[in-house]
Symmetry: C2
Subunit: 409 residues, 2 copies
Amino acid sequence: MLPDPTVIAENLIDTINKHEGKIHAFTQYNPEQIRRDAAYLSAGPLAGMSVGVKDIVETEAYFTEYGSGIYKNNQSRADAACVTLLKQAGALVAGKTVTTEFAFFQPGPTVNPYDTTRTPGGSSSGSAAAVACGMVDIGIASQTAASLTRPASYCGIVGFKPSYARYNAAGVKYLAPSFDALGVVTRDVTSAIKADNVLKGPKSASVELPLQKPKRIGFCKTPWWSQGDADMHQALQSAADLFGQHTSLDEVDLADFEEGADLHLTIMSYEAAQSLAWEYTAKREQISPQIAALIKAGQAITRQDYEEALAKAQNLRQKADILFETYDVILAPAAPGVAPLLEEGTGSPLFSRLWTLLYLPSLTLPGMVNKAGLPIGVQFLGRYGADEALLSYGLWAEQILPDRPLCSG
Amino acid sequence: MLPDPTVIAENLIDTINKHEGKIHAFTQYNPEQIRRDAAYLSAGPLAGMSVGVKDIVETEAYFTEYGSGIYKNNQSRADAACVTLLKQAGALVAGKTVTTEFAFFQPGPTVNPYDTTRTPGGSSSGSAAAVACGMVDIGIASQTAASLTRPASYCGIVGFKPSYARYNAAGVKYLAPSFDALGVVTRDVTSAIKADNVLKGPKSASVELPLQKPKRIGFCKTPWWSQGDADMHQALQSAADLFGQHTSLDEVDLADFEEGADLHLTIMSYEAAQSLAWEYTAKREQISPQIAALIKAGQAITRQDYEEALAKAQNLRQKADILFETYDVILAPAAPGVAPLLEEGTGSPLFSRLWTLLYLPSLTLPGMVNKAGLPIGVQFLGRYGADEALLSYGLWAEQILPDRPLCSG
């Protein structure tokens, strides 16, 4: 049954008004637009759930600015496919959420709801922060390197980056099309399942996934373990210990995947130099030094090196697939530690590069914290294409992990 | 050395003015814009070559309307990546060329330069017609089913649809992202090579490909041969005979690939229902019956059927790759016959569905005609990822095939 649209709209507006002055999760939101949309809410599987739309995704009712002054007041005529699907299913769009510039590193104004001196992570900064303090139920997010997993980890929420190309990205700005993937951030796995069910197809029959215990978990510290800090090491080891009390868990060494992080960087840089060719050529004075450096790096890569990286990536994907004959899920770090201070940037993508390269579905799960109570996510990786299974394992893991601290906002 | 920009601009404007009133290849072109752009022409590998941009590709200087009234006067802020790369390399944009509605079936006003009572083919109608009568040197085109190969065949020009995802599609409208591929139409293979060299990367070092004779050609009549007409049968057999006089050629039976055409239709319909969700939902009264039917068909496909089709497609791709251990190129029909009359639509995509599904690079070559002198292209398919080799074989084939009739325009 459809909840009262007026109540939904006013609750949403109140919650945003309560937090937004401090968090700065939105680039735009408009109470009148929310009320208008609420009046037409449909009784679908997401009826009444609120959505924040990362501002690299086109919308009819709001500007789409990509975190860049080049696109100030840039108005699209249409809603992106993902926005249309969510609205059709009964979701209510709250507004556009802050992205770093072109979903890369240059941060926007959003702060971390757990500690406003810290970054929410990037690039899906606003969606993650808005979900963490309860402003929206679903944040549309995206990932080219670690742009979903990292903010989910830093903000103590669930992040679901599905298998590559699972969601249609029509109306979403390109960064590196070999990796660009839409996903969602939510407060629990059930909400991610609901959103997934809608985003994965034109039809949105309601499907409930069963909680499922993975038979065997591979705990992968990754070749970059030593580049994580003590907080992360302890959080991951504690999570592994917890899971290991309930199912089979052993360490898996992926030393022969180490090259994956560099391959990811090569492919991403090469493709970004194409995707942002216009901005770099016609609007150079308005792009950040980070974007300029990315494009210059991409332009320095030869086509041959790029194609070799693509071929090696494809080989690694085949090797990864075999791994899942042994393990139902891989447990791995989601980020090097807790959210860095704002002045230090949006954090390192290192711990996601390999998984993004491999196209694997990734589920970041909250619950672990450091001594100061700051969240550190843990990451579950599933087999390519087996997104439902990963989400089912996520329901199980959610029961095992500690109750997460409520965010004061 | 850079040719005189004024001469280039005025020649281009004169040629367009000579043909456009009859051919209707452009949705917009603006002599003042052409003169302005010419003044800033850079001395790159495409210096002075003129380009028509299919109107599903965003441009800063012209509206982008996707062949649909929904997007009348729709203004993008940026040039698409492909447009920027071509301009950087010294090409001069002539204007936007007619596309069918959303690159599907509903035709625009363009007619075939060889017979104005006939279709130029779709969806890259304007780019193909503009190239055929010499209005532009390079037409940006795209293909999701047969939208590049078919118009190239009907208009008696070269069509190069590269391996899937070879060119960055940032700023290009989605139809079915599993297949959507940018490509080019030109009057000769050398021009396609020049354009390819620029579009494939952020850097555009000038590379010359050698003419190369394929050691062995597989002539594939395809499982749909009987759905082609006598004109096509004769053109293909004649081309095969010609090639066979110079190299090894034998028939290859791909009966076990027949399912590919249906798999293509399943995947395309499912994804189109997502890509065009906003247009179908918010602007239903402004879409054609063909688009509405496509989306309804896509909505009727289950996620399970879609995923099974994706998996089967992947298997066929692996089988196709093995084929190229025996054959350097596959020779196949490009379309069922010559261009149909305008009232019959833009022609059937049947003869390209399989190859598009397989991600293979495709080169359509002119030279064959029916008794009335209307062009019928022949199609060369290369190994996935081996685009340069295919273009090299194309240089060879171009020498073997009859001189094409000049288009009166």
